[in-house]
């Protein structure tokens, strides 16, 4: 710490350059943070997935329905604890940009399969008692300021017309870090009102007794409906949700590629800046060595300077991302989980320090190798 004033004084020497260098780190770490947030958001479904749940969809496509009659046939397969089903409704609330998933569920079985969804029993019973009832996730309720008793109209996009719902309950996930932004309503209401598609469901969710037996059950389900008009494709919920996210591309690969390019560029720019900064101070470094500063001491000063720049820049960048995420999902529901995890802040900060170390190390080694007499001859 007794050398801190020297490091700070050197940073103040060319304030504009220091600010720009710190800014470079801040921008790079902001980008890193933002990409991490997007990655987290795109893959949040996988976090939501239960290890004991399988998803059964139409083999042709997720948007193709499956017969309701499959419910009992799936249930008969050994090792299955419970089966439920859902239908994607695709309703719009006021404006298409107000996207959120609205799904018809089977009230008789849903809670037994999704035991990690938490809702007060009283609210659930109210939901069961109202054919037009709906339960909404806490995040969603907060987003639109909804409360129990509100009447919510949704404009149908698959089944046209305005569908009215009464909010009867607000649910949240057992793990509060997971999103709760879905809108659930009753399948029997949909079935009664929709003009076509009756007797079908969107997908089945199967809860297995023993997750380790999942592979056998997957084969059993798909085998049972092989060569039928509605062949199935079964996967674990995690595989399904990850695959769903990757439909728009390998997000993680894109993020790593962009991040790598940014950090390599940052390294080159900062390394060059540090090299110039050290070259400008050749005489002063020679003076420090003359006074008795060791080679390692001079290296330490240069590297510390670089670390301080990268650390400050990194923290600013990450703080800006954090502030940005506090404002919530800016896409109107596409990125439901929109937050910067603490571990990402830690990793980002370490990356910034690593960049700072590498950027300062080579100029630092040059400073370390500097011969005093040669340096004095140059000034």
């Amino acid at each position: 710490m007794k050398y801190l004033h020297i490091i700070l004084a050197n940073l103040k020497r060319k304030k504009f350059r220091t600010i720009l260098t710190i800014g470079s780190f801040a921008a790079a770490l902001f980008l890193f943070g933002l990409l991490t947030v997007i990655d987290k958001a795109m893959n949040s479904g996988a976090d939501f997935a239960g290890a004991d749940r399988l998803l059964v969809i139409n083999k042709v496509s997720l948007i193709m329905p499956l017969p309701y009659a499959y419910l009992e046939r799936i249930r008969q397969i050994e090792g299955i604890e419970e089966v439920t089903f859902s239908v994607w409704f695709g309703g719009v609330y006021q404006d298409p940009k107000n996207f959120f998933p609205n799904i018809a569920i089977d009230t008789g079985t849903y809670r037994r399969v999704y035991s990690d969804i938490v809702i007060a029993d009283g609210q659930w019973n109210d939901f069961l008692a109202d054919r037009q009832g709906a339960i909404v996730g806490q995040d969603l309720a907060k987003r639109f300021g909804w409360k129990i008793g509100d009447r919510i109209p949704l404009e149908g996009t698959i089944w046209p017309g305005v569908w009215e719902f009464n909010i009867r309950g607000i649910w949240e996930m057992e793990d509060k870090s997971l999103p709760s932004s879905d809108f659930y309503f009753r399948y029997d209401y949909l079935e009664e009102q929709r003009p076509w598609g009756k007797g079908t469901v969107g997908w089945y969710i199967v809860k297995v007794t023993d997750p380790s037996a999942g592979a056998g059950i997957v084969s059993a389900i798909d085998g049972r409906f092989e060569n039928s008009p509605y062949e199935t494709k079964t996967d674990t919920e995690k595989v399904f949700l990850t695959g769903f996210a990757n439909q728009i591309g390998n997000i993680r690969l894109i993020i790593i590629s962009v991040g790598a390019v940014v950090f390599i560029t940052l390294l080159l720019v900062t390394g060059n800046t540090m090299a110039i900064s050290v070259r400008e101070r050749t005489g002063e470094l020679a003076v420090l060595k003359t006074l008795g500063f060791s080679d390692a001491g001079v290296l330490g000063l240069v590297v510390s300077e670089s670390l301080l720049i990268s650390g400050i820049g990194g923290l600013i960048g990450l703080a800006l991302v954090k502030l940005f995420t506090l404002g919530g999902d800016p896409t109107g529901g596409f990125l439901q989980v929109f937050y910067l995890p603490p571990e990402a802040i830690g990793v980002g900060f370490l990356i910034a320090l690593l960049m700072g170390f590498v950027a300062g190390f080579i100029p630092g080694v040059n400073a370390m190798r500097l011969r005093i007499v040669t340096a004095f001859r140059r000034i």
Binding site: I6, R13, E284, T290, L291, S294, D295, G297, I372
Partner: protein, 239 residues
């Protein structure tokens, strides 16, 4: 061989058969040739000679800033050639103070911080460091300029700060390379008077390179170098 009059173990500086060659392409430049020198503690010696005669090179070698091509240098009994770079740095910090023609202060540090630099390498506490710096600045008469940056100081003041920095660790040897070369006559006289006082009052051994015969006159003795050879000794006051 000149000036081997130091009495055995009492020598603070002992130089034997010192050679320094520089290489420029195929050309070999003999900067110092067979230099021998003894310096007693508390002595004030001025080195004079034309440019390129090897004065500064000798000072750099004695200060451990450069390595000789041949020969040995002992400072207080320690043979510099045998010290590693790290040990040499530590040795300089502890036993040698440097004063340069262009002061060589760090421009972004205040006078106080510049003087404090060598003390950062010691195990002194902050409180002790403050005390040492204040004492050094008091000796050079700059107590009131502690918080000034080098750009806010006159040439004479900057050189006094440099002297304070050189003496703050209480070194046994002060090496001065043209300490008045960048100063006007009056200011230069003040610096020379200060160096003389450091030698007489504080017992510092001072080796000073200068072109200025008036400056050299302050020393106890004057040694002349010519083409890398110590050629004659001269008593001061002859000019």
């Amino acid at each position: 061989m000149v000036r081997l009059d130091c009495r055995g173990e009492d020598c603070i500086v002992k130089v034997r058969d010192l050679d320094k060659k520089y290489y420029r392409g195929n050309e070999v430049i003999d900067v110092l040739r067979g230099t021998n020198l003894d310096v007693s503690p508390g002595e004030f010696i001025a080195f004079m000679g034309p440019s390129g005669s090897g004065k500064t090179t000798l000072l750099n070698l004695v200060g451990g800033l450069d390595e000789p091509t041949a020969g040995t240098i002992f400072i207080g009994g320690e043979e510099l050639n045998k010290l590693s770079r790290r040990e040499l740095a530590r040795f300089r910090a502890r036993y040698i103070g440097f004063i340069f023609q262009l002061y060589n202060l760090i421009p972004v540090l205040t006078a106080y911080q510049n003087v404090q630099l060598p003390l950062l390498l010691t195990s002194l506490s902050k409180k002790e460091r403050i005390k040492h710096v204040e004492t050094a600045l008091a000796i050079v008469g700059l107590t009131g300029r502690m918080k000034h940056f080098p750009s806010q100081l006159s040439g004479g003041e900057a050189q006094r700060v440099a002297i304070a920095r050189a003496i703050v660790t209480d070194p046994v040897l002060l090496l001065c390379d043209e300490p008045t070369g960048d100063l006007d006559r009056e200011t230069g006289d003040g610096i020379l008077e200060l160096l003389g006082r450091l030698s007489k009052e504080f017992g510092k051994t001072v080796l000073m390179v200068t072109h200025d015969a008036r400056a050299a006159a302050v020393a106890d003795s004057i040694l002349h170098l010519d083409k890398g050879i110590l050629v004659e000794a001269q008593e001061p006051g002859v000019f």
